[in-house]
Symmetry: C2
């Protein structure tokens, strides 16, 4: 179980060596978790030049603790709680690397603040601080089967929570209450929590991907769009669906729904190993664009998921790169008509070769236009 | 209404001028909100040298928008959405400051990452980037009466949510469910959301301030400690209480409760304008220390609250500085006995002169040891 972390650290060490840095400091929380298993908030990982060390802030409760919290852990990693509760683990790591004779230390400049970086320089003035860049994020893009299994369970939980909501009375309830109920149901079914703030959007708010739930109540004739996901052992998935409230959808609602459905299907079908990110985006975007909605589209039509809800790759018109097998992504086009509302349909899928049956759909709630 | 933001920006401008910087860039979200009212995620505030500008990321939904979201806004502030959805507002701000002829720009080095700071330098190579430090955080310490009114409402909501929980059946329910129910009740009573992740701790977990709710169920004879707070219009308060489950508390439970209660009262009574932060901490800490719990205490016994749940001042043994009137703080000592559990009692209060009646208690739920 703990081998997987040692293997990942070995991969990172190889990449560091290739750019001439014998030591690296990983501070971004999802990256620390990827390389060390469960770690307390604020812990950072010092990789080489000697043994690897997980430096943890002192437990604020003051209890004796090895600094470990939830999640899988790794017996091969030395865990070092800081002696001082005011101490910053990145500064302690710089001091340790400096005193161990390392000449350079690669750090995550996209995560460290200027103040912390400067404090590291002060305690280890002879240590050259290089940039590790997004090396760990790149390692995280392709998932192993154990990671995909966590995502699959997260998606099952999400489908269950959404399915139960659809069986309840919706008219008259507020967006905010529906969102809270969905989050409660996620936890009921075994999620560690929501993967992100649940979005529920009704009537004129519908179709907006990141709408913050308001006190607007569900009314007859509304579009209702929801976007939610479970966090299961750190792995986060996402589903988005749009429904219509009442017996019969209006003509414009059916047309808009069919259009977004066609765009989302095109995006899903474009998910093959070797496809350029931008081509997947274009497959979905082109359909909405041709129908005259190009100007109002979000800048992405999907993105990677894993230990963070929004990670590489980005499915955008300008993205560089190609899909690999075993990369989980969302496909989530949507159209919002100001003042009227709109439609968003969002799935989490795993890229798989055609020989293995093509993309694996994790979020299986129906995409028919249901009238609730 | 919007005057308050212009006044705050004037204060910041004075402080910048005093250290020789005509322009400042505020990027830390709570600081932006303090100076500009409601602002979308990622917005940053450029102060001078010309007019003040709020630079906002392009709305990802692509809808026409002035970039404003919830909260009070400020009509005197120019709002500038970025043309490009990939653009970083801090880089755009550096370019704008550079092209407007500013020689130096003070930035929040404790918030900006090394990567963003470097990108700013690249687009405006002749602009000297100075450090604004915690100037805005310092302005935020003393609250005006409108801010205190928001905190008072947040505390009322929190007391209501907690009061309802106490009337329900608790035995057999999990920590996780109780925490979710408390958060739902906060929203029911008008909170914008929880001020922080609600903590519910039972039995051996009780008394730990930041315990993450688990699947442990409430049992007869347990201590039950809860810590929660409402976010109302951005302002966050905190309450913590410990109860005993069943009819009669054990002798050790009564003793421990009385001890923590005495420490918390001493801390509250030390809240007078002019008191040193460390003396407030010592008043509470000394009582627990004398009873032999010194080694297991958290490094703080309280902290400021406002737009963030944990802000200046810090009530710790090494803190420098003195309390002013109109500073809201928590007083939250606790003792946790490994394997047995413990007690934490936490209130939010506003420092007031004795002539005005002394510290104003915002969280008024009883601190008697209730048997539930």
């Amino acid at each position: 179980m703990s081998d997987v972390y040692a293997v990942r650290r070995g991969q990172l060490r190889d990449r560091c060596a290739a750019v001439g840095s014998a030591a690296a400091l990983v501070s971004r929380p999802a990256n620390v978790r990827y390389l060390a298993g469960g770690a307390p908030p604020g812990a950072v990982l010092l990789l080489g030049p000697g043994e690897d060390v997980l430096l943890c802030p002192r437990d604020p409760a003051g209890d004796p603790s090895d600094g470990r919290t939830d999640g899988r852990t790794d017996d091969q990693l030395r865990v070092s709680p800081l002696p001082d509760s005011d101490g910053d683990p990145v500064v302690a790591a710089a001091a340790l690397a400096g005193s161990s004779g390392a000449e350079s230390l690669a750090v995550e400049e996209h995560h460290l603040t200027v103040s912390r970086h400067r404090a590291m320089g002060s305690v280890a003035p002879r240590l050259r601080l290089a940039d590790l860049g997004a090396t760990v994020e790149q390692l995280r893009v392709v998932k192993d089967e154990e990671e995909i299994a966590c995502l699959r369970i997260a998606a099952e939980i999400t489908d269950q929570a959404l399915g139960e909501l659809l069986e309840s009375i919706l008219v008259g309830r507020t967006e905010r209450h529906l969102a809270l109920e969905l989050e409660r149901r996620l936890v009921d079914h075994g999620a560690d929590g929501p993967a992100f703030a649940t979005s529920v959007a009704t009537g004129p708010n519908s179709g907006q991907g990141r709408h913050r739930p308001s006190d607007r109540r569900v009314e007859e004739g509304d579009f209702l769009s929801v976007c939610l996901g479970a966090n299961y052992r750190g792995y986060r998935c996402e589903i988005g669906r749009t429904f219509v409230i009442g017996t019969t959808p209006a003509e414009w609602q059916i047309e808009l729904y069919d259009l977004v459905f066609a765009a989302q299907r095109a995006g899903r079908e474009a998910l093959v190993p070797g496809a350029a990110y931008r081509d997947v985006d274009r497959a979905a975007r082109h359909i909405l664009d041709s129908a005259g909605h190009g100007r109002s589209l979000a800048p992405w039509t999907g993105h990677g998921v894993g230990l963070e809800i929004d990670e590489d790759p980005q499915l955008t018109p300008a993205a560089m790169g190609k899909l690999d097998a075993c990369v989980p992504v969302t496909v989530e086009p949507g159209v919002h008509l100001p003042g009227r509302g709109g439609v968003r349909i969002d799935d989490t899928l795993v890229v798989r070769p055609e020989a293995d049956g093509g993309p694996e759909l994790l979020t299986i709630t129906t995409k028919e236009l249901l009238a609730l």
